[in-house]
């Protein structure tokens, strides 16, 4: 098995390689899985996320596509309804905007309308990084808000592998968002039997004084903020949601109850982001445990600039995370 090969390499797999591993293992188990996207065969995808898979499984299982996002997703829907489990690789999630009807009106609704499952993974890189306004959209809420869709937002190799394996065993359309800035980060991964259920948050670190609930690259920012705060004796718990739908409500409720001082953060423009829902629902359900309001941290209301420092300044920084924590600590 490929897992063996990877392991004996004696270097931990990257976030992108973890995806390769999970997909490969599932492709061995399930012959109906195929991958469709641009530049997958020779290049292995723009983030090497499927490198080598075409060579291993053949061109029938890994297909290069015309630049036709609507048709790519439609391929996945029709083939999924027919009995395959397609992985549609959209490259950047920004390009999903050309396939929104297929995603929101079709893939998400077919099971409800026709009683027929649509097993389908739509993979894309996401998150704020280089490339400017057209390559840095944070669209999580568009998907999470849509009944019928599930959304994975892994922050480390282990979760990438465990979540993609779960996604490929359930008959549901899943939006699988991999943060660009994490692509090369190496880490442990589970063996072929480790599947991570959606809706199960991961406690990145335990703490005593307050909690940050977040996901994706913002987990890293939270860790940095926590490390700084630790220098002055403040102990922060960090919860990585790992999926935005299903959402681990139990973990959120427990966290709010435990600390009463909570920050919810992501890098999408704050207004209308999914953090609004997380905070307001958590507040509604745990009001009496709150020492003060949940504080949200998010992106500014502006497109993302191609100037790297401007882009970084538009999303949560270590500093803004620390400030938010200080706010909840002051209650």
């Amino acid at each position: 098995m490929s897992t063996q090969t990877e392991t004996t390499r004696n270097t931990l797999p990257s976030y992108s390689e973890a995806f390769q591993q999970g997909v490969r293992e599932e492709m061995y188990r399930n012959e109906s899985i195929f991958i469709l996207g641009t530049d997958l065969i020779e290049r292995g995808g723009h983030f090497a996320q499927v490198r080598g898979i075409a060579q291993e499984f053949g061109l029938e299982r890994v297909k290069d596509s015309p630049i036709s996002e609507a048709a790519m997703v439609a391929s996945g829907i029709g083939a999924g309804m027919y009995g395959c489990h397609p992985i549609i690789d959209l490259n950047f999630i920004d390009f999903s905007l050309g396939a929104m009807d297929e995603i929101i009106n079709q893939a998400a609704k077919i099971r409800f309308m026709f009683g027929k499952p649509v097993p389908l993974v739509i993979r894309a890189t996401s998150g704020v990084a280089l490339g400017g306004a057209h390559h840095c959209n944070s669209l999580e809420v568009l998907f999470a808000h849509t009944p019928g869709l599930s959304v994975a937002v892994p922050s480390r190799a282990y979760d990438v592998k465990g979540l993609i394996k779960t996604a490929l065993r359930a008959p549901d359309p899943v939006i699988f968002l991999m943060h660009k800035k994490l692509s090369g980060v190496r880490g442990e991964v589970g063996d072929e039997n480790v599947l991570i259920p959606f809706g199960s948050a991961h406690t990145v670190q335990s703490g005593k004084d307050a909690a940050i609930i977040t996901y994706g690259y913002t987990v890293v920012t939270a860790q940095k903020a926590a490390a700084k705060l630790a220098e002055s004796g403040v102990s922060i718990e960090i919860i990585d949601l790992r999926t935005l739908y299903p959402l681990d409500e139990d973990a959120i409720n427990e966290t709010v109850k435990k600390f009463g001082r909570v920050v919810v953060a992501d890098e999408a423009p704050l207004y209308g982001s999914i953090t609004g829902d997380i905070a307001s629902t958590a507040t509604e359900e745990n009001f009496k445990y709150l020492k003060g309001p949940i504080v949200r941290v998010g992106g500014i209301r502006a497109p993302i600039s191609a100037h790297p420092q401007s882009a970084e300044a538009a999303i949560p920084t270590v500093e803004s995370m620390i400030n938010a924590v200080k706010k909840v600590l002051a209650y």
Binding site: A71, M81, Y82, C84, T243
Partner: protein
């Protein structure tokens, strides 16, 4: 020969079923029985029946907002269709879809669609699935003339061409999109020429001739099964009624409608042909109508008697629930 006779009589019967169904449903819609209205396809029966008669029952179709004719021709019991129009729990989509969302996925009907052009993509995707699993089937995506101006339709066609998918794009070209005449909005005015530009065999045919439609679809299906890829068939047809029930509009003349109805009606033409060929007697034709009327009345009765969906079911079948299951 007797097979041929039976087969042709079946084609005629299927068209009469559609026409009778549509005219009945239209009146019921005007009486408020069909929430959200319905898109009557009367006049377009030969496209549906000609296509479906060239397919294997296990072939796949996906269609549009105007899909009663395709759905009935594909073999769905009129009871299930009528019940769905009534939004009853016994309808093919459990009353969730009504007129625009008729489906029976397990029997190859991948559904009507509220979104113009979307069915073509889904059918193309099914064709990819068929090829992927090595099955010997084809998939047909129906689309209107109006839908040939959505970009996604051409993306899907191109995807089918470059992957040599067993796919047929069937244009139910009734020449109007709501109130908009095709020539006003269709650059080049020739849909088959567009298809040729995208590299697939493309034909404009008389969509009122059920045997001609059958023949072109059969040839397209043969090519697809032989691994030669998709075909586009632009079937010229006409709808007698308004876009949605009760709509009239000044966008076309009464003469034009009368011309199509009186001179090119697919049912009249085909029944006259069968009678002249001695495959059907006038009496038999009358009997056929009576029989079909009874069948459709039974469908109405079934729909009327059926219960509405239980309101507690509105939460059901949104997703599998399996993703979150801790294993």
């Amino acid at each position: 020969m007797s097979n041929d006779k039976e087969w042709k009589r079946k084609l005629l019967r299927d068209m009469v079923v559609i026409r009778t169904f549509e005219e009945t449903a239209d009146k019921l819609t005007l009486r408020g029985k069909v929430a959200g209205g319905m898109h009557n396809s009367s006049g377009q029966e030969a496209v549906a029946v000609g296509t479906m008669s060239a397919l294997d029952p296990k072939d796949v179709i996906a269609t549009t907002h105007r899909s009663h004719h395709h759905t009935l021709a594909k073999g769905m019991d009129p009871k299930l269709v009528m019940a769905e129009l009534f939004a009853k729990a016994t309808g093919c989509s459990k009353g969730r879809g009504a007129s625009m969302h008729l489906a029976d996925v397990d029997n190859g009907n991948f559904g009507g669609n509220g979104i113009v052009g979307a069915g073509v993509g889904i059918a193309m995707g099914a064709a990819m699935g068929i090829k992927q699993l090595g099955h010997k089937k084809v998939s047909v995506g129906f689309v209107g003339d109006g839908g040939m101006n959505t970009g996604r339709t051409w993306e899907a066609i191109n995807m089918a061409v470059v992957n040599k998918l067993p796919f047929i794009c069937l244009v139910d070209n009734n020449q109007y999109a709501v109130e908009t005449f095709i020539d006003r909005v269709t650059g080049g005015r020739d849909i088959a020429k567009r298809g040729a530009g995208f590299g697939l065999p493309s034909f404009t045919i008389d969509g009122q001739d059920v045997l001609k439609v059958n023949r072109y679809v059969k040839e397209a299906r043969d090519r697809a099964l032989a691994g030669e890829g998709p075909t586009l068939i632009n079937a010229l047809t006409y709808r007698y009624y308004g876009h949605n029930v009760g709509e009239k509009g000044q966008y076309r003349t009464q003469e034009e409608i009368a011309d199509w109805r009186d001179n090119r009606d697919p049912i009249d033409r085909f029944s006259a042909q069968l009678i002249s060929e001695g495959l059907l007697s006038q009496d038999e034709y009358v009997a056929l109508h009576a029989e079909v009327t009874a069948q459709i009345n039974a469908a109405v009765e079934f729909a009327e008697q059926s219960p509405y969906p239980d309101l507690s079911t509105i939460y059901e079948d949104v997703d599998s629930g399996l993703l979150g299951a801790k294993s």
